[in-house]
């Protein structure tokens, strides 16, 4: 993920799908009435990685991400996904385009009137011609992968917050999306549930080989899962880079943001690169 100093800043051809950058945002501005929320955002999100967008509450993270799949339209600027200008799409191509995405909402946004199974089957029934048996099998597979097998007949009201988020992810995964967006996935969860959700995001990214975009301000969680981080502050991208680059960034607001969340250098060993190193070491030890 890169911010204002986007790769190929000069003569880049955004109409060509880039092997590294999956989503590319250029000069995005959005205001609601007189309230300017995003001001000339330039951002690139890396293919197949976990890209985290951080920022204070109300900074405009969700607003930014909703532009990726054209749930909102900007005042100026563009978003390119695999060389496609999102805002130039007509109604029907846009509908097809949106199937590239799976969106996991902050509070899951499950349909109250439908069971877990029907919630997960909803996108399949809408967009495929699969038989009932095939749909049932896909749903069972996705739920089982997230440890939810056996909850098919339950209704959202009967589930805990963490389970609802996992059902939300299962629903987002049934159409095999290329890009998964998580809107504040750990908000309101206890530490253990937060860790479970982090594991779920990493597992989904690896198992289904998707580009993940996570909106969060939970820095402990961010450093556990992120391959790349971008910070949104005062309507612009303040910094972007790898977790190490973000941790070492000189900007006082950013370092203060990280410090205030209780995640400093001392906790740096919890980040994703170190986790994979540790896992490799443990695997090697186990093998020997």
């Amino acid at each position: 993920m890169s911010g204002g100093d986007a790769p190929g800043g000069g003569g880049e051809d955004l109409r060509v799908a880039d092997p590294r950058w999956h989503i590319r945002v250029r000069g995005l501005c959005k205001a609601f009435g007189s309230n300017l929320v995003l001001d000339h955002i330039d951002l690139d999100l890396e293919r197949g990685k976990v890209n985290v967008i951080i920022g204070a509450s109300g900074a405009g993270k969700s607003v930014l991400v909703k532009h990726f799949m054209c749930l909102l339209r900007p005042d100026t600027g563009s978003v390119w996904v695999d060389g496609t200008d999102v805002f130039a799409l007509a109604t029907k191509p846009l509908s097809t385009f949106r199937r590239k995405f799976g969106l996991v909402f902050q509070f899951a946004a499950l349909f109250d009137s439908l069971s877990v199974e029907d919630n997960c089957a909803f996108p399949l029934r809408e967009h495929t011609t699969k038989s009932k048996a095939e749909i049932k099998e896909i749903v069972r597979d996705r739920l089982a992968a997230l440890g939810l097998d056996g909850t098919q007949k339950k209704f959202p009201g009967e589930l805990s917050g963490g389970m609802r988020k996992r059902v939300g992810l299962a629903r987002a995964l049934v159409l095999d999306p290329e890009i998964l967006i998580f809107d504040e996935p750990t908000t309101g969860l206890d530490p253990l549930a937060t860790r479970n959700v982090d594991e779920m995001i990493l597992a989904a990214a690896e198992r289904y080989n998707v580009t993940s975009v996570v909106i969060s301000h939970d820095m402990a969680s961010v450093f556990r899962i992120a391959d790349r981080i971008a910070m949104l502050h005062q309507k612009r991208i303040l910094a972007s880079g790898t977790p190490d680059e973000i941790r070492a960034h000189p900007d006082p607001y950013l370092s203060g943001f990280i410090r205030a969340s209780g995640v400093g250098a001392a906790l740096g060993t919890t980040d994703r690169a170190d986790r994979s190193e540790r896992t490799d070491r443990e695997d090697a030890e186990a093998a020997s």
């Binding site: 799949m69 749930l71 846009l94 509908s95 097809t96 949106r98 199937r99 995405f101 969106l103 909402f105 902050q106 509070f107 946004a109 499950l110 349909f111 109250d112 909803f122 996108p123 809408e126 967009h127």
Partner: protein, 291 residues
């Protein structure tokens, strides 16, 4: 201490008067303020019309999702049936009771059935049915869609490439358009049954005279006129419920306010539109004096 405006010394220059708004600016502000309620009203009306047009533009497009239409018709129609029948029966009964007592002095109590039927077919049927729907189905739809809006379920639909207007609004509006005339017709039927019960069984009006006068007074065109009104009211009441729910903001309180607005706006609109619609229908279809 420094800073702040010090009081002028006695005998010094008086403070400069605050800058006054220019006359043109003041007039502009006044006109804008005066027309603000009208602009808000037009804004709301326009919003409803746009939502209706957006919904109808999806009508010929696939997927059809027949289940959604059936579900909406079941909720609006079948769910409202008991209350509509109850209100219809007692409206016919009380109307007849009043008519019998009023006309007894003139020996015209046998006219009670015909007069009640005329009122039920032309006004009471469509209007009271629409008011019942506003209180039950309109409020229920506003709450349901409002809850879906604030819990991001509508955004979820959109993110799954499902158009929420086509999925949520269109089936309800079409269902309202179809089932409201049916409910109105049933309202009329049970109202007439109640009228017969009171007039013939309890008040001693002759069966033959009751039926004869009813047939003489109630024209088929009265029923048609009531059904046309019912179609308009059905669309209007359900559309208002959808609009208030679809555009709900501000959490639970916003949903509550939307629901209240849905009932109030729909009820008032039914009564106001009824007058103008009656005027148009009497002109187009002809009044009781026309043959």
């Amino acid at each position: 201490m420094s800073g702040g405006a010090a009081a002028p010394p006695p005998g010094g220059e008086p403070p400069a008067p605050a800058p006054r708004e220019s006359l043109v600016g003041a007039v502009g502000t006044g006109v804008r303020d005066a027309f603000a309620p009208a602009m808000r009203f037009l804004d709301i009306v326009g919003g409803h019309v746009i939502l209706l047009m957006r919904a109808l533009s999806w009508l010929p497009r696939r997927p059809i999702r027949a289940g959604n239409y059936v579900e909406a018709a079941e909720y609006i129609g079948f769910g409202s049936l008991p209350i509509v029948l109850l209100v219809g029966a007692f409206t016919g009964m009380v109307m007849t009771l009043q008519s019998v007592y009023a006309f007894k002095a003139f020996g015209l109590e046998s006219m009670a059935g015909g007069i009640t039927g005329k009122a039920l077919a032309l006004e009471l049927g469509p209007v009271l049915t629409a008011l019942m729907l506003a209180g039950r189905a309109g409020a229920g739809i506003a709450t349901e869609l409002g809850t879906m809006r604030i819990s991001e379920q509508i955004d979820a639909l959109e993110s799954m490439a499902v158009n929420p207007v086509q999925y949520l609004v269109l089936p309800r509006v079409i269902a309202g358009m179809i089932v409201t005339p049916m409910l109105t017709l049933l309202f009329f039927v049970v109202g007439m049954a109640g009228s017969y019960l009171v007039a013939v069984m309890w008040q001693g009006v002759d069966h033959g005279q009751f039926v004869y006068n009813a047939e003489e007074l109630i024209r088929p065109m009265d029923i048609v006129q009531g059904e046309i009104k019912a179609v308009v009211f059905g669309v209007m009441v359900i559309l208002i419920g959808c609009y208030q729910g679809y555009h709900a903001t501000g959490g639970g309180r916003g949903v509550g306010l939307g629901t209240t607005r849905a009932v109030v706006i729909a009820s008032v609109s039914v009564l106001v539109i009824d007058y103008f619609l009656t005027d148009i229908l009497l002109t187009v279809l002809g009044g009781p004096g026309d043959t």
